[in-house]
């Protein structure tokens, strides 16, 4: 069990590195590129389409190979999201996230990765993001304690 935990940390380091490398090479750690993609009425930059196409294609086929084995190599089972409902938290959360993404051009992955650039503004974004996460986790915990609702699966 503890050897699984150690191996999962190795897997985390390797996959985090690959993920960060992909983000940096793809230009996703440049908010100007992200906002250029989101600005369809301006000088549109389609870079994000190529990133998503490459990422989703590899993941679509790769997941099928991974699931064929029945269980992960270094864990007892796959930890997949259990939530199914297209409910108000999902929709409201997506709207709030989208507004934040559009305001600054950072989503969580590129923001955390960009901390390595040492710019104060990125630190401000990430600290505020962590603050927002903690606030929502508290709100959900107190709410689920009231109505005995299980929090939806995190992805």
């Amino acid at each position: 069990m503890s050897s699984d935990r150690l191996r999962q940390s190795v897997a985390g380091l390797i996959t985090g590195f690959l993920f960060g490398l992909g983000l940096c090479l793809a230009g996703m750690t440049r908010p100007a590129v992200i906002l250029g993609f989101l600005d369809v009425a301006g000088n549109w930059n389609p870079a994000l389409v190529f990133v998503m196409a490459g990422g989703v294609t590899v993941t679509f086929f790769g997941y099928r190979l991974a699931f064929r084995r029945g269980k992960p190599l270094w864990a007892e089972s796959f930890s997949l999201p259990t939530a199914r409902a297209i409910d108000r938290p999902l929709l409201l959360g997506a709207v709030i996230f989208g507004i934040g993404w559009g305001l600054a051009g950072y989503c969580p992955g590129p923001a955390v990765t960009s901390l390595a650039g040492g710019r104060a503004g990125v630190g401000v974004f990430v600290i505020a993001m962590i603050g927002g996460m903690v606030v929502m986790r508290w709100l959900r915990k107190s709410r689920s304690a009231n109505v005995a609702l299980k929090p939806a699966g995190q992805e």
Partner: protein
């Protein structure tokens, strides 16, 4: 190299990361979920792989900088108060909606999850409208 070829290569690397994390540890490569699992209240029991993943994220640009002189990280393009508000909204929204561009966008779409497909359509629409208002209306 052409930025769009680099973007596709970057996307493939992100996909490989997501597939490896699933094949090895059975986990979704969703950055908001990985980070939020470290936070109070009730941080997840499995903190070490989450910290290792974040260390890997930070290591990539550092190594790129050493090897090529360019880490690929661009400067923020909006004022600090906007960064603070945007960050707070991203934190609130990704926890409430259960994912972000990676968890819903890459992993969820690859699993053909209806929840993720809807989430991506909604956050993309919200972001497009936000940028339109910020750049062409205000």
């Amino acid at each position: 190299m052409n930025p769009f070829i680099l973007a596709a290569i970057g996307g493939v690397l992100i996909g490989l990361s997501a597939v490896l994390l699933m094949a090895l540890s059975g986990r979704i490569a969703g950055i908001s979920g990985i980070v939020a699992g470290l936070l109070p209240p009730q941080s997840a029991p499995d903190r070490s792989w989450r910290l290792a993943f974040i260390a890997g994220l930070l290591l990539a640009p550092a190594l790129l900088r050493v090897m090529t002189g360019d880490d690929g990280i661009g400067p923020p393009v909006v004022a600090t108060p906007v960064l603070a508000v945007a960050g707070f909204l991203v934190g609130l929204g990704t926890v409430l909606g259960g994912g972000c561009t990676s968890g819903h966008g890459i992993c969820g779409i690859a699993r053909l999850s209806p929840r993720s497909l809807v989430a991506v359509a909604v956050f993309l629409a919200a972001a497009l409208i936000t940028v339109f208002i910020a750049r062409h209306v205000v």
